[in-house]
């Protein structure tokens, strides 16, 4: 079966430094795939390539087997079937409702349907009461919940989460992690998470890819990776013995 999303020999450099040195991976429909690895190893770069925000220097990003190049009309269609939540949420200078409705407006969804879906999404993240408040005046945790609702309301085929709980308190981390699992259960989205938090990867992911020195050193079911890794470097990284 062709995976909905796959990387083939993807390379990417910044300022002469090769960050990704040939990434090959397929992400299966409906799974939660976590990309873990030390800081600066290219986790976010990989996610940005998958979300078609940046183009690889070489290699291909394929969606349902078809290669997609950044900037093409097909890429916009493709991007509209995906959504991404970044580490630091940026909210529009508008109400919480308007923030969550934004992506639906872009897609020309009927206003009555927008209303129903936005309120459902806000209830999903416990922000129904805040619908009329200015989003940029809420706390960081609440803004990240808005960012989640704003992405989830689009019912994306693929949802990318980039260190989405990195700066949050434990209460908001728990709430958002539960929202991710519930979203997968109810919407069936494929979810790709980038995290430096190994505990989070273990809590959420079905499969894990360990990115070391620009390559996926090992990919496998989360339990196998964390409990019985076959790669010495991965074992060293997961146990904290490998210093980066």
């Amino acid at each position: 079966m062709i995976p909905p999303l796959s990387l083939h020999g993807v390379r990417k450099s910044f300022g002469g430094k090769e960050v990704l040195r040939g990434i090959d991976a397929g992400i299966s429909a409906g799974e939660i795939f976590a990309i873990v690895g030390p800081s600066g190893v290219g986790k976010t770069t990989t996610l940005r390539l998958l979300d078609l925000l940046d183009a690889p220097d070489s290699g291909e990003i394929r969606f349902h087997g078809a290669s997609v190049s950044v900037g093409s009309p097909a890429a916009l269609d493709q991007r509209r079937r995906m959504a991404m939540i970044m580490q630091n949420p940026s909210t529009f200078r508008a109400t919480v409702f308007e923030n969550v409705a934004y992506g639906l407006w872009l897609r020309g969804v009927d206003p009555r349907e927008i209303r129903v879906r936005v309120f459902q999404a806000l209830a999903f993240v416990g922000l129904l009461e805040a619908a009329g408040q200015r989003a940029d005046r809420l706390s960081g945790g609440e803004q990240q919940r808005i960012a989640f609702a704003r992405a989830a309301v689009l019912r994306p085929e693929v949802l990318f989460l980039d260190e989405f709980t990195a700066n949050l308190d434990p209460g908001n981390v728990r709430l958002l992690e539960q929202a991710v699992l519930r979203h997968r259960r109810e919407a069936g989205s494929t979810i790709v998470i980038v995290t430096h938090n190994l505990f989070q990867a273990r809590r959420l992911a079905d499969r894990v890819g360990v990115l070391l020195e620009g390559r996926l050193a090992e990919v496998g079911p989360a339990r196998d990776i964390f409990e019985a890794s076959q790669t010495p470097e991965v074992r060293a990284f997961l146990s904290g013995e490998m210093a980066y």
Binding site: L53, A83, M86, S90, F92, R93, L154
Partner: protein, 216 residues
Amino acid sequence: MSVDAEVLQIVGLSLLVAGTSTLIGFVVGAPLGALIALKEFPGRNFVRTLAFTFYGFPPVLAGLLVFLLLSRDGPLGALGWLFTPIGMVIAQTFLVIPIVMGLTISAVMAVERRLHETARTLGADDRQWRATALHEARLGVVTAVMVGFGRAVSEVGAVLIVGGNIRGHTRVLTTAIVLETSQAHYLEATVLGVILFGIAFAVFAVLQRLQGRGVL
């Protein structure tokens, strides 16, 4: 004309000239600023630098250039706009456009840095992103207009040269203050100065109020 009526006429003309030049400055400067901020084109950085350089364009120089343009032997001399409020508006518009344009560029580019990526991840195409950026930058654009108005209403060099400070015809608050001071009428000059300050204060108080209410 009584003193009160004359002061009212001066205040009215000041508001009319500064308001009209600000309006034109907005109509021209804001779209240009937005275009420069959002559209990639060759020489974009140079145009931006030029816009920022013109922030500090000396009003007397703007006045001189417009004077030469409108003087009898100038290219637009036949219009007869020298020493008229129309000429004053033209001179002040030259001062307002770079301010509105430059501050609009800054406001839109700040939005670009903060939100472009987010909008893209949510599916915005280029046209939708431009509309979003302008909407998000509205506070900055309104501020640009207010600053432009502040510059116009408080400027003296350009309106003095182009308007000629003719009583009952082209005399505005700033040129009246210059005249009263030169004649050692310090009390009158101070009163006019307080009125000028009051206008500027009122404009920015309105802006702050709109911002505080979340209108912007």
